[in-house]
Symmetry: C3
């Protein structure tokens, strides 16, 4: 459980909140690159960390991320004209470039210097790894986190975005919480269960995983082990990376993945999922399954970020299917996650919880964020991980080890999961 | 009129409010038995006294009423699996029986004692008189109120439930307030007026009834008398029974009825109506009229508790009908009541009222509830009526008496209306 | 920019606010006469200055404007019966005349005097100039403002009403702010630009008008001048008349117009537009253009005051049209105005603005209202303009003058724009 005070630190991301300051010291993933308008095309809206923004691409293809409201009298730049190097507010023709500088203020006399004193709030933006990244903090932007997928060819990456009707931390809890996999995502019918390794026999053999948390400079690795095959232990190593990234191990042969849980408001979040293959293009079959929301990604109403299965339609739960086929009767692993996390309310009252050993990683994530946010707000210093982008070049992984062997002692686990500093690579 | 303070006592039913404590010392009628799921069928949601609950029936047919949110991390048990003796949260497979005891906590090690320390909030429930009753109070549940219809054969009882968009007390006022009958429910066309005794000539002959309140141990009997047929007085005796029951006298030959006005939130209430015949099955014709919302009951969108005629569609008022047929142009006596009570707002501002003699029973009801709730909250003692279920075995009734004769002096009135303690029956 | 305190004075119109008291010392235009029900027809709802009202016409054709809620127990008089000289609440048959006097209280004994002590809150109402006017202030109502269109024959006046999703002051700013015309309403395609004088070449020749404010007893005349045709200045004189009237000069040959920006709640306003020809009937072509929302008026969903192009449908913006035909891609000059004013939020945060010379009239309007409202609230005195209805008999106008000539020195401007006191006319 968590006091109301600590819950507020964990969940409130406005610019004047400890978490808000903390999050703003990192780059924030904001949308997929495919959602960013083309050069000179109309802007799109973006709500991020409790701020209302517009995103556009100028005539030279540079991406601009500006506060939605014109600094003049607040008209929305969403309705603006994106033309000839900047976005123009249609109210009075004030025009801003991607840095927020006022290029023209045609309603003032030509002798006026006023335009030099007015700036639209703007944030640096980059496109990398098929995502748009925004830096909403003070000072110079750091390097982007060096996720493995950044830099891969396009055909090796698939990224999608949807929104979820609850606080980002609550949504993310559903990912760190490995113990739920054996229930929420279980197939009830024997045939399906056999075919789905993710929800397959290891998760049924031992439903109460043991935990081992390994701290990293960017968060922690949450190892959860299940007693299987008599005398072995099936270890899964999940990654939690500040401020809101999670990785869970893919099934053997499957693509790598990271999910990003980004505050939109305090009661809503974006989820961005990237799946990638480090050494090959993605396959048609896996792409089709992702687009259809079967796993990893979620299916949405085309052209929107609104999931098909969602809170206000009870996730299209099929009670007959729930009896005979899947544990929930809800289509898609991610929709199942959304159902349990959203149904606790927009911001869960964590003072009423009863936490057990299965919540080990959830508790660690909360503590890590609360401590890091509090420290950042108190010191005004960016967290150490911000300056070490290579910390993000990691994988989640899994292995079956002899019972008694610590996961961190297994090369096959640690080689894959541990980040390497550039100097180490050169050594 | 009522001060803001007293209005708050009258209207706020959360668990920490005086009224909330008071209401929780009684059994609360919650839904019709027909709405309770069958054994092992999916649970349904129930909002009651500002709490969110789920209702299910376990494999043995026992009814469970649990807080909607799992005590673990708050996922909704509405999406749970109702199977093999309890409801299982699909997030982590925690399973609860109808008493809220945790039967399984499979994500904890088999040696863990944790499940014995976690309980889902649960409330005792009973099905009686075609209704589901829930006891939301402390300590052992009392006996159910001994309404006459409880124990009758099913074919003699008809129960329905709908919701109303205002506070329970405001909704109930429309029932105790006999004086409105001659107006709100009046038929304008002469032919219809002659055919409808309820809205018939007695209500037109004298529109300003006199009042006589007779206290009972469970509330009061509100007698209202109209000067009719020259030198007689038509007395109607309505029952008000704590905490929120009302009975109005049926027309001669018609079924008995009780209406129950149950807080859902402070700005919404359930209405449950039971009509019954003590000595015979109900007739097809009266059943059809009830289902169609002509009187006593209200017509709803099939499969829901949402009335067809309601606030957000202006009760489908037909202004032409209002000119020529009925006083309101609105279909159904209960929809007419809902219109006047809901249109005063979700919680009426009673500091701005102008009350007259016609409001005698309304004033008495408010005072009775406010005093009883305040006393209950101050003393922590359940009201006396809770321990005397026989107080609820009463009828509303009516008679035409010689002018000057007190209604309580008339055997035909008092014999029907007065509750009898068991020892009196045995005497 | 404006402090939060001053913004509150400018924007909050409830009866206990400085602005609320101030506005209530004037007649308030409330709806078009065409929207007022006929004698004995059902009442209609009206929200005005944060009050909920009903409007009806009694059997003799007198208009009644009463508080929506019955003074008895608050049932809505909207559902009432309008018959035989008054409106009757259908709950208990209490009946009120257009002055709010209780004509009948049939649920009280015939000897009761109670009805003489109960009054429905009522406001004097008049129909003039095809509008309904309501006086919501204390004491005797003043004379109606003597707008020129009041008293003209019906065929010379066209009035319409719609609602807007922001505070009245913000909506009105879009009208006083002449500088925006050259942008917001600009035609992008050359052909259209040449044909539309309003958005024509003078607005393109000089986009940074100079300003000259001329105080009047009822507000001010805002003259804005553009350098045109080499050595001339195109002056437009807009009228601002307390408390919320604006006039902009019609194109030569076009009808006169006034717009009225009336608080509904603090976050919504009515807009009433009247166009008229002092000396001739209106033409079919201009009427068609007004009904279609091309200019001056706004097109609405038939039978409602809801605009077709509105906030929740992004004003049906057509991005292709925005590239090739009009500056906004939005149909109708008034919808374009609504888009920019509404998109700043229901009540703009004026502490974050950056005002320039183009905002001269906007700033003056705010200051004038804030000062007048504060003075009225402090003194309890009605503003001077209330007692001088002739101040409203003015026009907005325009002229091309030699550069250097002050607009107030030009007869052609001042003759048209200046109000004349009755004694002056007689002199």
């Amino acid at each position: 459980m968590l006091s109301h005070e600590k819950n507020a630190i964990l969940t409130q991301s406005g610019p004047d909140r400890p978490l808000g300051k903390f999050l703003r010291s990192f780059w924030t993933p904001a949308m997929t690159a495919a959602e960013v308008p083309a050069a000179d095309e109309p802007p799109v809206r973006l709500q991020l960390l409790n701020e209302n923004l517009v995103v556009f691409r100028d005539s030279e293809g540079r991406v601009g991320v500006l506060e939605e409201h014109c600094p003049h009298r607040g008209a929305s730049l969403f309705f603006g004209r994106n033309e000839e190097g900047g976005i123009r507010c249609v109210y009075h023709g004030w025009k801003f470039d991607v840095t927020g500088a006022c290029m023209e203020m045609p309603t003032e006399p030509s002798t006026s210097r006023m335009r030099h004193n007015v700036k639209a709030r703007s944030y640096p933006a980059r496109i990398a790894g098929k995502l748009l990244w925004v830096y909403m903090g003070e000072g110079a932007a750091p390097e982007l986190p060096a996720f493995e997928f950044i830099g891969l060819p396009g055909e090796s990456i698939y990224a999608s975005r949807w929104h979820q009707e609850c606080n980002y931390a609550q949504a993310m809890e559903g990912e760190l919480d490995s113990a739920h996999v054996g229930f929420l995502h279980r197939m009830v019918s024997k045939i399906d269960a056999d075919h789905q390794a993710l929800t397959g026999k290891y998760f049924q053999e031992d439903t109460a995983p043991s935990w081992k948390l390994l701290s990293t400079e960017a968060g922690f690795m949450a190892c959860n082990g299940r007693r299987v095959d008599g005398d072995k232990r099936y270890w899964r190593l999940n990654q939690f990376l500040l401020p809101f990234y999670t990785m869970i191990p893919p099934r053997p042969g499957d693509a790598q993945l990271v999910r990003m849980w980004i505050p939109m408001t305090d009661e809503r979040c974006w989820v961005i999922c990237v799946t990638w293959r480090p050494e090959a293009p993605l396959g048609e079959q896996e792409l089709a399954a992702w687009r259809n929301g079967e796993n990893s990604h979620r299916r949405v109403i085309p052209g929107t970020t609104t999931p098909m299965e969602r809170k206000d339609n009870d996730y299209l739960i099929d009670r007959q299917l729930q009896k005979t086929v899947s544990f929930t009767g809800i289509h898609g692993v991610r929709a199942q996650d959304a159902m349990v996390t959203e149904s606790a309310g927009p911001i869960a009252d964590r003072s009423r919880e009863h936490l057990g050993s299965s919540d080990t990683a959830v508790v660690a994530m909360r503590r890590t964020i609360i401590e890091a946010a509090s420290a950042c707000a108190a010191s005004g210093q960016a967290p150490a991980a911000v300056a070490k982008p290579w910390l993000y070049n990691v994988h989640a992984t899994q292995a079956v080890l002899p019972e008694g062997m610590a996961p961190e002692a297994a090369d096959e686990i640690i080689q894959t999961a541990r980040a390497r500093a550039p100097q180490q690579e050169n050594a």
